[in-house]
Subunit: 203 residues, 4 copies
DNA sequence: CATGAATGAGTCTTCATTCAT
DNA sequence: CATGAATGAAGACTCATTCAT
């Protein structure tokens, strides 16, 4: 027999909880945010929460998987129209430097970085983290190696290292932005970093 | 009334507690590490702890202030002997790329990054953090501008931005190392980043 | 308004729920088994459950009343063909010593004993329990006194006490069997107990 | 350095908690009695409880071990002065039939029997239970076999079976007493059971 | 009647902090 | 000053029961 509420209804509630959880984890951090915070934020009851997620940890992980997945999807799509490796790379820099650095967006990044630290203390989560990191890492390596094949970029350069440095800059800048907030010239810094990397890649 | 114990004795106990606290916060994180963990690690009693620090938060803050201060001192001393700005900069890269990436060292960095996140949620701590960041930031700006004055580096470049990117790379790489652990070629990555920055700075 | 479904249909569902409840209470105990366990086991919905029983307690009580009733019916029927009191008594011993000590049967006994304990804490249930106990108790007393009248058994013996001891042995052995499980020589023990009682009853 | 409170003080508190726990488990049962019930009964705080026992389960187990141990100690001591096996056995019957069937004593037995059921659902506890049961079981077997050696008792009888039946009667009678309460002629029943067993053992 | 999502009081457990000794 | 037992507020999670659909 069909369930009394539609799947869309349930999915919406689930997403509401995820949104509330993101807001709470961002504001207070994983440990400090409570289930009560989340359900109060979402207007649901505690019991309802546990109908959708089995634990605080589970919603946290779901949140992370989802947001990482979504941001990677966007990245991949954005690149498709570009021809040369250099253009692709530039576009990646553009995307990151044009992110809306609204409060909400910043908070998402805070959750991501916090997770990185939490994961580093937990063997189960580490694998999870590595897998996600690899997706982004490989994505950039692919572009760089394409550029090397097409002789846009120097062949003497280790693509993996440049990719690693790019993501380090990304995470490092976000980390700093968390503290510096409004005064942080994220856009300009990102573009500068882009130039720096391109200059290094070019022969 | 004359104090019953010498100041040195008290200072030693304080330092013991700080060391234990660092070990515990590094291993478990600020929220997860308990006062019990710290006093057990240090061999003292809970009562003793509260004679030296008024709260868990206080020892955490003290720790951070102290450890940042120590690492900056080392940095400043290390470059004194160098002549040119380029040499100084290279030396900074060298220092970071030759850090001992032992478990203990990694854990200290984890504490630092975690603090960055915690601070970002607390207006009182943010100022604190900014002040500390500024010390490192200014240190690098000074070197870069010296290089620009001496025409070692291009004058078209914003020194503050390069400094910011350098510290972003530093924090970003440490963040990634936390997860990748032993397999992470920190040294090579640091040297690559150094080359990248130098190439960008040079005319 | 005419009922929408037949009485048989409703009774069938009720019995299904009772069976499921017995299985769950047996497996997990009254407190630990949940309504969810019961409805999952029966394939019904929680709402359906509450159409047939007003509470967890109610289904529990219903179960107990029913199962005690059933087992007594069997006992009474089994005796009818026997002539002498001694034969009747022996047959009771036989019936119990030949019960199938399958997992399911053991679990039923567990439920019975557990109910005994739960009832002992609740004045309403105690009367209930006493009434049921009395049925079994009187049944045995009747046989023994018949034997005394017919001079099969010694008249110096208090029939009620022997009956009480018989049921104590029965419940005690089942209790021990719950723990000893497969290794428990229930059949032999029951027969030994039977001989012991008969020897005592005989002049 | 010496602890600030004596070991006796701590042991007393521990025993207070055990007493309170026994009272609460007896009154409400393991599942229904709460930590709050126990600490309220003992006049301590919830936190204090967890200084002495790590969980509700732990205090429950401790309680069981202790009370079983104590009652067995008493039993063994009581026997020592007796010469013949028959006298020993009679004395065991006497001890049980002269137990004070006060409310408190009855409640202890309720806890014991309830534990038997709980243990039967948990593989870890079952072994525990078997071990305890064996102590009592072996104790009786020893006496019976001594009587067989000395020709006080028939050699055709399986000592283990008689022992098993004795303990079954004991537990069975206690179970029934829980429900019948004051009206239950425990003493007389126990003596009757004793005669029954002795008659069976004698040649 | 059936469904199963929602409710929220109730439970165990943790832990920063206090304070009598 | 040192000790560590005591405190109790707070938090994650459960589950019998209700009720809108």
């Amino acid at each position: 027999m069909a369930p009394k509420v539609s799947e869309e209804y349930k999915e919406k509630k689930r997403q509401d909880l995820l949104k509330s959880a993101m807001a709470c984890f961002a504001e207070k951090g994983y440990q400090t945010a409570t289930i009560d915070d989340i359900v109060t934020h979402s207007g649901m009851s505690k019991g309802a929460f546990y109908n959708y997620f089995s634990s605080k940890e589970e919603i946290y992980l779901t949140l992370l998987k989802q947001s990482v997945y979504l941001s990677f999807q966007k990245l991949r799509e954005a690149i498709q129209s570009k021809e040369t490796a250099k253009e692709k790379l530039k576009h990646v820099f553009d995307i990151y430097s044009n992110l809306d650095f609204t409060k909400k967006s910043i908070q998402n990044h805070r959750v991501q970085i916090e997770f990185w630290i939490i994961a580093s203390r937990n063997d189960n989560l580490i694998d999870h983290m590595k897998t996600h990191a690899k997706v982004f890492h490989d994505f950039l390596i692919e572009i760089i190696e394409e550029g090397q094949k097409k002789s846009e970029f120097s062949k003497d350069i280790k693509s993996a290292d440049v990719s690693e440095i790019f993501w380090a800059i990304t995470d490092g800048l976000f980390l700093h932005m968390l503290v510096e907030k409004d005064e942080f010239p994220m856009k300009r810094l990102y573009q500068t970093a882009g130039k720096m990397i391109l200059k290094y890649l070019e022969k």
